[in-house]
Amino acid sequence: MGTLGCAPVTAGRDRWTRIMTLIAAHEGAELTGSGLCVAGAELLAVDGVAIALLTGDGVAVATYRSDLAFQPIEDLQFVLGVGPSLDAFRARRPVVEADLSEDASLRWPGLAHLALDAGVRSIAAFPLRIGAARIGALTVYDSRPRALEGDRLDDALALTAVVARTLVALQVADADDDLVPRLSRGTSVGGAVSPGEFPSGEIDHAEVHQASGMVSVQLGIDVGDALARLRARAFLDGTTVRAVAADVVARRLRFDP
């Protein structure tokens, strides 16, 4: 481990604050999928960042990117069903490809060539997840052949944690609305979702995760969707997700299909 790079806790709070500040600066009053990508690209000092929302079997529900130049590569991954983003999503762990001109063409035939043609030399992909709940993948594109490592890797991991929680929060700002149009047209930060909400760690409470598991059985849905339902309920009832989760775990509240 490097001597400078391994300060996640003392530097952690600063890192988190820096990420939230950047997102807030880019987003102004609205949170959008592409805005998150632009903020991410600036944070990591790379050419592009893309976010794909995926179903459990890896079908893209929506994709967002900081720069249109990377859209064909992002799209092709989901057409071919192979690529770093899908690998990261399926294996639930980061995939870092420092130089696509070396061996990536074996792993992802076709894709690496297209990426190189588009001027991409390195790619890193991260699963967007909350525990076992998989939301999608965040992919980093760069024209320079360099590994995402050190402090930038720590930044990318923290960014991934922020984005995963942001997506869950946006998904539930109101339950009847679809996540996709909501992210595309932007969501009012002044309303249910604000960058300031995430440092509070509302979602990261043991009972919230337990309740997500229980509701996923009650409704026969994915645990990530169950978390969204919990947040939606909290929003409608004007209470906190922790309070709703406590009711579920204590079996005072059931979700019926």
């Binding site: 003392t10 870092v96 890797l153 995760h209 337990q210 996923s216 059985v217």
Partner: protein, 261 residues
């Protein structure tokens, strides 16, 4: 009855053995918490790790009762763990009473039957990554040798997290911490799934998950992931739910405790 030196040596030996193989970080830390209780005369113990924003999360405990988990959760606002995490120093508090410095935590801990509480920092170089927490059921001083043992166990917990090779790229501390935290979230989600399927409490669900993982020689986190993903087959699923009921039967066969159904 083995003396403490023997127990301590065996704890570290077991740990050294475990860390060689592919191991489950939550499971090993849970075992370590159990040993803390035995070695230090504590009635409960737990290990908290910090996430990317410096919030503390329960990674493992000597028992999964909700009241105990809540005592750890409160400590994101105040408590010995937070103090130890922020200062990087051990916090030894022998007697929780009206003069204790934590207006929310202290009464909650007393209500749960604890009268002494101690926290020891988990340190990697100059970075505090988490804390080891001890709860005592009576107010009595923690002696200097106990403090040393507790701090040694906190170091052992740190090593466990650092040794976790759950992913290829776990050479980074941040990756290891995030991986460990995600493991724990997955286990909480799985506890919820099993608790709903089996109509039992979440603490009981944890016991079922752990029994099943042990009987199958599988990692707890892998089993939890399969439970949440619904990738266990029907036979495995009924075995998991039966693992719990078998354990209940075994307990009932022995001396039925006051909490036996």
């Amino acid at each position: 009855m083995a003396n403490r030196e023997t127990l301590l040596a065996s704890t570290f030996l077991t740990l050294a053995d475990t860390l060689v193989d592919d191991f489950d970080v939550v499971e090993v830390l849970g075992t370590l918490c159990g040993r803390c209780v035995g070695l230090l005369g504590a009635s409960a113990s737990g290990i908290l790790l910090a996430d990317a924003r410096g919030a503390l999360h329960v990674m493992a405990t000597s028992g999964e009762q909700a009241s105990l988990l809540e005592l750890f959760q409160i400590q994101n606002e105040e408590g010995p763990c937070l103090d130890s995490f922020r200062s990087g120093q051990a916090v030894v508090h022998d007697d929780l009473d009206g003069t204790s410095p934590w207006p929310r935590f202290a009464p909650a801990a007393r209500r749960a039957g604890f009268h002494g509480v101690h926290a020891f920092p988990m340190v990697v170089r100059s970075n505090v990554v988490g804390t080891l927490n001890l709860f005592m059921d009576e107010p009595r001083p923690l002696l200097a040798p106990d403090v040393d043992v507790a701090q040694a166990l906190a170091h052992a917990a740190t090593l466990t997290v650092l040794q976790n090779r759950a992913t290829e790229d776990s050479h980074r501390l941040t990756t290891q911490l995030q991986e460990a935290l995600d493991s724990r979230i997955t286990i909480e989600q799985a506890k919820g799934v099993v608790s709903e399927l089996g109509q039992v409490g979440t603490d009981e669900a944890f016991t079922w998950l752990r029994s099943f993982a042990r009987s199958k020689n599988r990692k707890l986190t892998d089993v939890a992931t399969a439970v949440v993903d619904r990738t266990l087959d029907d036979r495995e699923r009924s075995e998991l739910l039966r693992a719990g009921s078998t354990e209940e039967l075994l307990r009932a066969d022995g001396a039925p405790g006051p909490d036996a159904p």
